[in-house]
């Protein structure tokens, strides 16, 4: 379980706070969605949880352990990252995924590491890709490789930063299905930053609505209301229910 308490962050002493007193709790097996406009602090929050950025104050705990004091390697065995702009650096698919095991093997990959990679490749139907160069793959395929790399870290939690940003609709569905499968089958917590509200409602269990570095609303689907969206996104929308599902449609004036 991830517990964030009064987390504050800024990039330097002279710049304004990007995250202010963020509180967030996410249980194992839950899918949490961070929603907000561009520049609201979604990516910054993800990077703080991952230890890529260091918070100025506040606490970050995972199963009661202090994440901020933990070594990079220990942290990587608990939380894995599927970044927004995925680069691998022209390695083969197999090696790109094997790199996810660094926090376990340090210098040389062992038999166990290779077995885990092969299992994940098999589970995700990527075995036929293993020898290809990642540079040759499409955006959706690379996203899948990034998920595979995160999974071989055997994490207790996965963080996705804008996973559907540059994908077509078929790949979007594929990636979100992978995320959901990981949460259900491996019972790991998943935190996803998104700006597409309908995608969020489709897969999310808990929602964190963030604006200017502050979390304004936290809770289940009930927190997604027309008023909340107006406040967080500065946008007019209408929410309709079809088959007991909330659907968000554009309600503003498009001039």
């Amino acid at each position: 379980m991830l517990e964030i308490n009064k987390l504050c962050f800024r990039y330097s002493r002279r710049s304004p706070f990007v995250l202010r007193d963020v509180d967030l709790v996410l249980a194992d097996g839950e899918i949490g969605i961070i929603l907000g406009k561009n520049g609201s602090g979604k990516t910054t929050l993800c990077k703080n949880v991952l230890g890529i950025l260091k918070p100025v104050s506040g606490s970050l705990r995972f199963d009661g352990e202090d994440l901020i004091r933990m070594s990079r390697r220990e942290r990587a065995r608990r939380i894995a990252y599927v970044p927004q702009n995925i680069q691998f650096g022209a390695l083969s698919v197999y090696d790109s995924i094997l790199a996810g095991r660094i926090s376990y093997f340090a210098y040389r990959a062992g038999k166990e590491d290779e077995e885990i990679v092969e299992k994940v490749l098999d589970d995700m139907g990527l075995t036929s890709f293993a020898d290809r160069n990642v540079e040759e793959l499409s955006g959706g395929e690379r996203q899948k490789i990034a998920i595979a790399r995160a999974l071989v870290q055997e994490p207790r939690m996965l963080i996705f930063d804008e996973p559907t940003g540059n994908l077509d609709i078929a790949n979007e569905q594929l990636i979100l299905a992978e995320a959901r499968r990981a949460a259900a089958e491996k019972h790991i917590g998943i935190l996803i930053s998104l700006h597409d509200l309908n995608q969020a409602l489709e897969i999310g269990d808990r929602f964190f609505l963030i604006k200017n570095g502050r979390i304004l609303y936290t809770g289940g689907k009930e927190v997604i209301t027309e008023a909340a969206i107006r406040e967080v996104f500065d946008a007019e929308v209408r929410i309709v229910e079809i088959d007991h599902k909330k659907i968000i449609i554009n309600g503003g004036k498009i001039s």
Binding site: Y81, G89, S96, F105
Partner: protein, 334 residues
Amino acid sequence: MLLLIAVILLAFAGLFIGSSHMTMRDSFGALFKKGNAAQVRILWNIRIPRILAAIIAGAGLSVSGLIMQTNLNNPMASPATLGVSNAAVFGANLSIIAFAGGFLSTGNNLNHYAVGANPYATSLVAFLFSTLSILVILGLCRLRSFQPDVVVLAGIAVGSVWTAATTILQFYATDVGLSAAVIWTFGDLGRAAYRTDLIMAVVVLAGALYFYAVSWRLNALLGGDAAAKSMGVNVELLRFSSMLAASLITAVCVSYLGIIGFVGIICPHVVKRLLGYDHRISIPASLLSGSILLLLADTLSRSIGNGSALPVGAITSLAGAPFFLAIIFSRKGE
């Protein structure tokens, strides 16, 4: 493996080719200390240390270039990106012009070996200044957690300070001092001696082993800082230690041999083009291809100079650049 055989073959070829008109048979005899004394001396005191220097320095400069390019995510990064060469040149100039330090052993004339008072003074001062430069830049960049663009810019800035200081020194130099100082900057394997070879070998070998040990972490770095950090790599430490090692290798080579350009850019790029980016392969391949290039260039410089060896630094660039261009513009390997 093939590359290793090529290095060995070239090393032997280098034994037999030179500017002193020895026949192949003479060289072979001299190798086993037969034949006349002068020939034995040429082979054992000049050619062999020189060939060893080419192998070691070529490997060191090449792998340093590879490491700098990976660390800075910049194809133009070279072993000298941290201002190493400029600082070494300043140090050597200071030693030669201001202190009339070590004598000048260009290796082109046997007589020079007899007159030297302290052949290591110039190299030592050059090395001290390049180490100072490395520490200043890495120290400064620590403040910005080694962001690649900051490191590159800091290297340019500090490098230009050394160049400016060198210019001022040279302005006050005597004609003799100036020419000695300028000749020092020509990369020249003729300065090699067994002792300097040994020092270079230890530094290059230690660096190469370290790089090979962290090759997976360097691979992770290819995917960007954020991803590498999330996979558990201590990116700042890796950058600091690998750039320090690469720069020290360069500092040692440049201090003893002068500036040998281009090896550190061309070899890693050719290797990456042909064999891919995986550091488990590109590190050993860069080492060996660097040795090959410098051996080739040195053998060439000794055979076309007609009596005196041309500066090998010029040959690496002259011979390397067209080949490099051909690789860049060919579609092969894409």
